[in-house]
Assembly symmetry: C2
Homo-oligomer: 231 residues x 2
DNA sequence: AAGCATATTGTAATATTTACAGCAAATCAC
DNA sequence: GTGATTTGCTGTAAATATTACAATATGCTT
């Protein structure tokens, strides 16, 4: 109980694993990679990597995300640390799980070593995952649900301009329940977090919907006053 | 990005640090220990220890709590993992923070090596803490606040029999705001989670209050039906 | 021009939250 | 034992938020 630390203690490894969420307008998706090395070679798994000894934990999570997607400035949150003795076949490996929210439109399958090794899976069609990745995914889903109900993070998953129907479908996909359209819009608009862009949908074979954008300034103003977003 | 793990990766240490909350009827308190070894010898700090290579992470947190308080079956939750490169002077040490809620009445300063080495500090009178323990404490406080508003965990901090005034003061101490007595009681009682014991306070120099107890059965019944506790 | 598909909007009933104050019951001091 | 003191205990009305519910609007297709 002294936290002195004997040489014997410095024998663990730490990884980060990322649950990368995307939304394609229909269902919530997760980005998985096809493992090219042991253990669990040729299996779909959460993207992750060892944390180098000279890199901060959070930075490591950002690094994994960037090397996979090329994206920067992405919304990320730590989910949980997992550290059962036998969770990794090669030794004592702790992992810290993060989730990230990305706009699918911004994500290009990189013309790189990753080109054919990453794919989006609908949240309800996830293959069997190695390690404790299934458990990690469950934790991440639950945390996303809790968060999206009280903080306006849904916008991180949507294009810059979006319709009210799109955001409703996002909330329905994440929370796995339906909302009444009139009530949902009433509440969302009353929060004054989004505003009309003045543009409308094009290339749809029906009445085009108004496009909205998320208004960061207003959100920050509300945050300062102590504001509760709840949907 | 392969999670293969070279020998070079297995050079980190992992600790757990516990934020142990108690409530004495007046203010929220945290149990700190007086460090007897380097680094930061003779400083107050959060109780913690290295995670042995053959012990599960969660088990390790429970272990730290038991060896300090002698208590078992305690409410604990993981808070966050901290892993900045230089957070520990002796090497790369990750820490996983937990918080625990204990009934102060059950905690006896152990007639052990810990006897004079642990003390309760009011949440607003915490001395300067070593490592990143201040940050850890802030995370734990915030998580406790979030949790206590939506799950009936407040009871973990109260004696088996308590008055409505006590539970209100607990909520006021944790959430750092005041509640209207009538409204607070109305809402709490309407949840049907507590019931009268039939006993009253004794040894008070004023009208004695009715003693209540937490009704676990009812809570479990509600949980199954999908129940939302919100105060 | 008619049909199709999705977008958009309001109202009434109900439930929840908030604001607010006076009497009750036990001990204490004299 | 009487009055003072301290904390316990309780209800109602107004305001606000939530829920349930369906008809019209608009652009495109044929």
């Amino acid at each position: 109980m002294q936290q002195t630390g004997t040489p014997n203690h410095f024998k663990a490894a730490v990884t980060v694993d990322n649950v990368i969420f995307g939304f394609d307008g229909k269902s919530l998706k997760v980005l998985l990679i096809y493992r090219g090395a042991e253990p669990f070679k040729d299996r779909w798994a959460l993207p992750g990597d060892f944390v180098p000894l000279d890199e901060n934990l959070n930075q490591s999570a950002i690094h994994v995300l960037r090397s996979l997607t090329g994206l920067d400035n992405i919304y990320m949150e730590q989910v949980h640390a997992f550290g059962d003795v036998n969770r990794h076949p090669f030794g004592r490996v702790f992992t810290i799980a993060y989730y990230a929210l990305i706009k699918v439109e911004d994500y290009q399958v990189q013309a790189s070593s990753w080109a054919e090794e990453a794919a989006w899976f609908p949240i309800n069609e996830i293959p069997e995952l190695p390690f404790d990745h299934m458990e990690i995914l469950e934790f991440a889903k639950q945390q996303l649900r809790n968060k999206i109900r009280t903080q306006p993070i849904g916008f991180e998953l949507l294009p810059k301009h979006f319709t009210l129907t799109q955001i409703q479908e996002l909330y329905e996909a994440v929370l796995e329940r339906e909302f009444d359209t009139r009530n949902f819009r009433k509440k969302l608009l009353s929060m004054n977090l989004i505003s009309e862009t003045g543009y409308r949908q094009t290339d749809v074979s029906h009445r085009p919907a108004m496009l909205y954008k998320y208004d960061t300034k207003r959100y920050n103003r509300f945050l300062e006053r102590g504001f509760s977003f709840d949907i």
